[in-house]
Amino acid sequence: MSTTTTSSGVPVHTIGTATRVRYWLADRFAMISAVLVLLYLFLPVAYTFVFSFNNYTKSNIAWNPEGSPTLKHWLNPCGPPGICTALGNSIKIGLLATIIATVIGTMLAFALVRHRFRGRAAGNMLVFVPMATPEIVLGASLLTIFVQGFSKVGLQLGFWTILIAHVMFCVSFVVVTVKARLQSMDPRLEEAAMDLYADGSTTFRRVTFPLVLPGILSAAMLSFSLSFDDFIITNFVSGDTNTFPKFVYVSYLRGIPAQANVIGFSLFLIAVLLVVGAQVIGSIRAKA
């Protein structure tokens, strides 16, 4: 490594060729392995996509040897009885659980980071332990209390018990995500606002909240994904109510209808397109 000086007098480090080759490889190594790992993540998704065209009832077991690829499942995604009710439940529960968990989790995070009070350590513990508890134990304990306790006050297993359970396990994830954002925030930005004669609530509205918002949004996104894809806890507390993952699991023994592949792949595609779309719009705006 040698140091030369440009005409403006600023020293510039030039790197030897061997080092540069090594850097080049190291650069590509991370990106190449990242792409390979992403392909590995997508492999079963691609499988569901291919089998959504399978001209066969037991779509996930084998490709129909005689049938040519068909579009009929894509034209009739709600064909199998109950599949779209299950999907609707998953979406409704996902949205409601996300809203409730994000609001109360964000409040908790603010209290735990911004205030000193007795029992703060206990509060942190109360948030941490549910995350350190395996889902099956959460499901078993909730089933026990729902059946032996809360059913006596009229709460039967179904939509609402699933919602309650999902909010419970999402809250901790929201708190952790929002807390991380709050802790990495520069406190001097708020101090500056106060110095400029903003009162407490103005500072919160104009400075604190906008700075924390990205954390809150990623917490909400995480909550929705966790709730939407949950099976183990849902299976314990759902009674006769179906969600999309439960529908797929229950129909596994009889053969998963090809429409499940259609729906599963479409949801994946929608999620990707939304973010890619936002990204493209963002970069167009940035150029304009």
Partner: protein, 305 residues
């Protein structure tokens, strides 16, 4: 210190973990903020746990299958431990291997997301999360078909005589592969978050000083991402140890069943299984919490949360 002058400097020191200042705060504010969340967690986490604990000590009414009475019967724990010790062993072993493999796969991806992705960063984040929407049950079933005996992978390995038993599915290999796959995003996201927060200039400086990729990685990058690695291993290991879906869909009838499978079947399929299932749940939780605290003590230098 004047806040305004401090704004001018580009490198802000990272604020301390607990900046406990109440912005416009009165004494009552924290309690109002805490109330809904704490109430929810007490009602739907603490109380159910207490109830499950009392169930784990109940006894069956002799002659009345499916009926229990309040008791302090530690026999349920004894039974859970003696009868199902192999299942506990498998759960911890499979989850341990899966966590290690997930770490090896997740790190380069998280690293590329944090430092190499540029404007593709958000797209890569959603690429990690989006498979959730296909439903993990559907993806696990897909893995069963991909790894099946007549599938490409198993048949190729068989032709090369590289598959000792002749199968991938119905073996522990498939179960561990499924666990690794399913919990990989929980490893990627925390590592990415900690790398993203790390100052890229520190790593560059490390590169300038050591001028060796691996040394820089070992002495600078990896230590800076330790909080993320710690959180990621916990978020992978815990659900993997309690999982039963992978063992159910990818494993065999007996030799690959995990604790989760026993708890599930004791709850739903075995008459009089409730107290045993509860005792198994508590034993599993105790083992995991103990491991977590030892692990956090050993590797967690700063506040985990």
């Amino acid at each position: 210190m004047s806040a305004l002058s401090a704004l001018g400097s580009a490198t802000a020191p990272r604020p301390a973990g607990d900046t406990a200042r109440a912005v416009g705060g009165r004494k009552i504010t924290p309690f109002l903020l805490l109330l809904p969340g704490v109430a929810w967690l007490i009602l739907f986490f603490i109380i159910p746990m207490v109830q499950l604990f009392t169930v784990s000590l109940q006894s069956n009414f002799p002659g009345y299958p499916g009926y229990y009475y309040r008791d302090v019967n530690f026999g349920n724990y004894w039974r859970a431990w003696t009868e199902f010790a192999p299942h506990f062993g498998r759960s911890l072993l499979f989850a341990g291997i899966a966590t290690f493999l997930a770490f090896l796969l997740a790190y380069p991806l998280a690293y590329a997301m944090a430092f190499k992705a540029g404007r593709w960063r958000n797209v890569m984040i959603i690429a990690v999360i989006a498979p959730f929407f296909t439903s993990f049950i559907l993806r696990t079933v897909a893995w069963r078909q991909i790894l099946a005996d007549n599938g490409f992978i198993a048949s190729t390995l068989n032709r090369a005589n590289l598959l000792p038993g002749g199968h991938i599915t119905e073996t522990w290999v498939a179960v561990v592969a499924g666990l690794t796959y399913n919990f990989l995003p929980f490893m990627v996201l925390p590592i990415y978050a900690s790398l993203e927060r790390a100052d890229a200039r520190v790593i560059e400086a490390g590169g300038d000083l050591y001028a060796n990729g691996f040394t820089t990685f070992r002495t600078v990058t990896l230590p800076m991402s330790m909080p993320g690695v710690l959180a990621g291993t916990l978020l992978t290991f815990i659900p993997a140890a309690g999982d039963y879906v992978n063992a159910e869909l990818l494993g065999s009838d007996k030799s690959t069943k995990m604790v989760g499978n026993v708890i599930e079947s004791q709850f739903f399929r075995v008459l009089d299984g409730f107290p045993t299932a509860a005792a198994l749940s508590f034993t599993l939780m105790a083992i995991i919490l103990a491991l977590v605290f030892v692990y956090v003590r050993k590797f967690g230098t700063e506040d985990l949360l």
